[in-house]
């Protein structure tokens, strides 16, 4: 078993499936799945539409340990209906957050405090286009339940988001990923609201060609999100890199973790208003315009360099210090 865990550490995160990611992000042998495929709790709605269900409904949830921290892990499977959130999938995610909070309360009731194994963390690996259209209404409601549960967990259970799968994180799950405490992305990961195909449909191919994958990644990919600070960390597309970063962050003091948030307070809203101001009146045509504004000179170099060089040289949005709509 540990052999397999070791092998997965050396593979690209993007290549692993949801279950492998969940297993490999935890310490070896520590992951314990809830509602595993054997429970066969599948979507009752897909079969009625002639679509084959999957035993885990495209999401893996379980308990494990990351470094010294007990974690609840949620991992979406984009291979199954694009990672779309349906009734079962959504409820599993909501429950995972609530159970993390319950775990935290149990520890507190035992008099444990953060620092001596008394902090539970929630880790969510997003790989989804958002609402599953076949179960659209239930999927939409589940999003609101997740956001509420996030707010309930704030300041109690740190939430660590991970975006490094092949689909990335789009639709309503984009809101969710932006509401975590710490977001870790690889440069394969993408974060956005509207998918590239829809944008192309709306604004035209001239302005946005969805087949131009480099443009798509430039607009929503991990490198760009790191520069705008939506992602706190950018790591290589390697399972090991994600695991190490998650273990590290999960063990931070709660206060330090919460400071990484980008939304969730009045100050942060005002900060975001200033960032938005930079883009008003078509001043920004391309993400690289923004990179330049933040003082990045050799854009092509940043774009092609490996992640460690990129991290070392990228100049990020100075958070709140510049920008005002004119």
């Amino acid at each position: 078993m540990d052999d397999r865990w070791n092998r997965m550490q050396d593979l690209p995160f993007s290549r692993l499936n949801a279950r492998e990611r969940a297993v490999a992000i935890c310490n070896p042998g520590s992951f314990n799945e809830l509602l595993c495929p054997r429970s066969k709790l599948t979507s009752p709605h897909l079969p009625a539409m002639g679509q084959t269900p999957q035993f885990d409904d495209g999401i893996v949830v379980g308990l494990g340990k990351a470094g010294k921290t007990p974690v609840v892990v949620v991992s979406q499977e984009s291979r199954f209906v694009g990672g779309g959130v349906g009734e079962v999938h959504g409820t599993k995610m909501v429950m995972a957050i609530r159970l993390a909070l319950r775990g935290q309360r149990i520890l507190e009731s035992r008099g444990r405090s953060p620092g001596d194994g008394g902090q539970v963390a929630l880790v969510i690996s997003f790989d989804t286009g958002g609402v599953r259209l076949q179960e659209a209404n239930a999927g939409l409601l589940a999003h609101s339940e997740v956001m509420d549960a996030f707010q309930a967990a704030r300041g109690k259970v740190p939430i660590i988001g991970v975006v490094g799968g092949t689909v990335g994180c789009f639709g309503g799950m984009g809101f969710v990923a932006s509401s975590v405490d710490v977001l870790i992305m690889s440069d394969v990961g993408r974060l956005g609201l509207t998918g590239p195909g829809v944008i192309e449909e709306v604004v035209g191919t001239e302005e946005f060609d969805a087949a131009n994958r480099a443009l798509v990644w430039r607009t929503t990919g991990g490198r760009h999100r790191f520069i705008t600070r939506d992602a706190d960390f950018i790591v290589e597309d390697a399972m090991k890199a994600f695991r190490e970063k998650v273990s590290e962050v999960a063990g931070w003091p709660l206060k330090k973790i919460s400071e990484k948030r980008i939304i969730g307070t009045e100050e942060m809203v005002l900060e975001q208003m200033r960032l938005v101001g930079l883009a008003a009146n078509d001043k920004i045509q391309d993400s690289w315009d923004l990179w330049r504004q933040f003082g990045n000179k050799d854009i092509e170099y940043l774009w092609d360099s490996d992640v460690s060089e990129f991290t070392a040289h990228a100049k990020r949005w100075p958070r709140g210090r510049i920008g005002e709509r004119d």
């Binding site: 690209p12 993007s14 290549r15 092949t166 690889s186 440069d187 394969v188 087949a211 131009n212 994958r213 480099a214 443009l215 990644w217 990919g221 991990g222 597309d237 092609d304």
Partner: protein, 560 residues
Amino acid sequence: MESMAARRTEWTLRKNEFQKRLCEGRQFVDEPGSKTVNPADCVSLLEAVIRSGDRVALEGNNQKQADFLADCLCNVDVERVNNLHMVQSVIALPSHCELFERGIAGLADFSYSSPQSARVAQMVSDGKMKIGEIHTYLELFGRYFVDLTPDVALVTAISADRAGNLYTGPNTEDTPTIVEATKFRQGIVVAQVEKIVDKLPRVDIPGEWVDFLVPVGRPCYTEPLFTRDPALITDVHVLMAMMVIKGIYAQYGVKSLNHGIGFGTCAIELLLPTFAESLGLKGKVCSHWTVNPHPSLIPAIECGFVESIHSFGSEVGMEDYMANRPDVFFVGPDGSMRSNRAMCQVAGHYAVDAFVGSTLQMDRYGNSSTAVAGRIAGFGGAPNMGCDPPGRRHSTASWLRAGRESTMTRGLIGPVPRGRKLVIQMVETFGAGRVPSFVHRLDAWTLMEEAGFKVPPIMMYGDAITHLVTEEGIAHLLRCDSLEQRESAIKAVAGYTDLGREANPKETLELRRQGIVQTPEDLGIDIGDANTSHLAARSIRDLVEWSDGLYRPPDRFREW
């Protein structure tokens, strides 16, 4: 003296005509004595040098396209210029079809039209396009020098100098062939180039063969046709690729070869540094290639599997990589690769041990076709690669062994030893949408009836095929000694298709015993172990890493 034909007295009619057109065209050059025409005057230039009914070679390749000239040709006054006879390798762009829609052209002789296959079929059925013949590349090139010599050639290059010398860069492709055929029969040659420079890196086409230059200010459209994302290779592809390597390459010692562009061959290329290496095949197989610079060959090149690659055309993003691997690629003194479709087709026809391709459909005789009703896609170069050239006289180990095993054909020439090229078809028993690949009647027959062809468009005739590989196993068709046995061998690997279900299990066992059919098990390949983790690269990004950043994939393939 008996009555004799009157003696011909006129010997320069073509030359005179050429001079006349040249004069008319020259009114559009930017200054006296120059060959350069402002792009804004290009339509007028074409109206001046092209006459109705002319045979026009519009450079349409697999990769680069004379797209600007094609657009200009679409915009000539149809009253002045019409009824053109287009001769071109590939009908690739919408503008190539537009010429027929607008009545500027009426007749086409070509090789390949897959990118516009549905529209070509529609235009033929609407009577807007007449097809002379559909050729293989070599046939069409041959006819450029016999009965399809162009009156006007519209070609494309990267840059030119003022004297008209052209630099084509790595995508030389068809340009030398077209220009040579046109110019030496007193035709007009017009070239679109990105820009005019003082000094070219190298001269691919001599300036005196070029009459007019149109500096367009942008690169011509170039299709990355041979880039396959390794992420799309399936476990079934890996299984079949393992079988080809272990069951054919290793057994015959295939050193020189051509690969088609399917994912099966892509899987083979990516298994060379891993699976083939583990079988100890480095240096023993796959050393000399006649293929386009497939990015999926990078790991095999880096691992020293590959000694040389000559190419029909280039591939977008491979330029720097090739320039830095001059021991492997055909690189000019200027440091950049030069391709040549005609030369590489000759090489692939005569000078390789094996061809591996894939197909959509195969019948019980092993005839294979990619034809689909309602689409006219042509042949390209595959039939020239995928056949045993009767003119071949040199020998290699693989060729000799395949010849020895060719029971049926050997009988016709008595005891004289003769070799054979391996022609390998990789076919999954069911294609996309669970459509069976093995059929009783090829769709090519339907297409023949629809389009009024004289013969069904067969890509590879059954008698050319030496090996059929499906996920069920390898059928060594060359080892069969009768048509009946060949049919049984085909059925034995046709899986659960209707044709496959006709297989007699006892007969299949006997074929396996004789080594005519080999299953993965017979080859010592564990089906359960066939998966993509064996590939040396599993994404475009892996290929970039293998190349040390020298391979720069086109934007449409960059997913990071």
